[in-house]
């Protein structure tokens, strides 16, 4: 018996967000208020390549704010890529925290596959930079 869970990513961990930015070659997020086209937003600011305004993540609520004008002021694929890599880094942090080993593999469709092996309580951490 198994089960399949589908999860919508919410950015709530500043450490995983910073790790994702480093991995993508982006500047580490800065905390503060960012001016957007429509008002302003406070949180962890990430400047994506080619984006006119930063993306602002509120790690308390998991919400994000940005103005990319339907893609004309910023390619939404850049944000999707950041969310994908954030989820990878967050899953790795969680696996390591629980003492499990983890492997990573990029799939042909652009997805990233992680396999976490339950090593039981107190098992060695075998994962690492992948």
């Amino acid at each position: 018996m198994s089960h399949i869970v589908t999860v919508r990513t919410q950015v709530r961990d500043p450490l995983a967000l910073a790790a994702a930015c480093r991995r993508l070659g982006l500047a580490v997020p800065s905390i503060g208020t960012a001016a957007l086209f429509s008002g302003s937003a406070e949180g962890h600011r990430v400047q994506l390549p080619g984006w006119r305004y930063p993306v602002v993540f509120n790690t308390t609520t998991g919400e994000s704010r940005y103005d990319n004008y339907g893609g004309q002021w910023g390619d939404p694929r850049m944000l999707n890529q950041l969310l994908q890599v954030y989820a990878v880094e967050k899953a790795k942090l969680e696996a390591h925290r629980q003492g499990h080993s983890i492997t990573e593999q990029r799939l042909l469709d652009g997805s990233i596959k992680l396999v976490i092996r339950d090593s039981g309580s107190g098992g060695p951490v075998k994962g690492g930079a992948l």
């Binding site: 089960h3 869970v5 994908q84 989820a87 967050k90 469709d109 997805s111 992680l114 092996r117």
Partner: protein, 68 residues
């Protein structure tokens, strides 16, 4: 003794950041418990579907082990 290493969580993260978690090798309530922390860590659950693919899962794990 390798029973503990037979329990795995397979996570597929799409290019849009959506995550699918599949728990294999767990029994009973341990199956739900195995994914709970990851679900909370990654975001909010959109769907949760039980499966009965035990035999397929066994085959997949054997294949993975051979490659690994």
């Amino acid at each position: 003794m390798s029973h503990s290493t037979d329990r795995t969580l397979e996570i597929i993260i799409s290019p849009t950041g959506q995550t699918r978690i599949t728990a294999r090798g767990y029994t009973g309530t341990a199956c739900k418990a195995a994914t709970r922390d990851l679900e909370k860590a990654l975001g909010f659950v959109q769907s949760d579907t039980p499966t009965s693919d035990l035999y397929q899962s066994e085959d997949a794990r054997e294949t993975q082990r051979e490659r690994g």
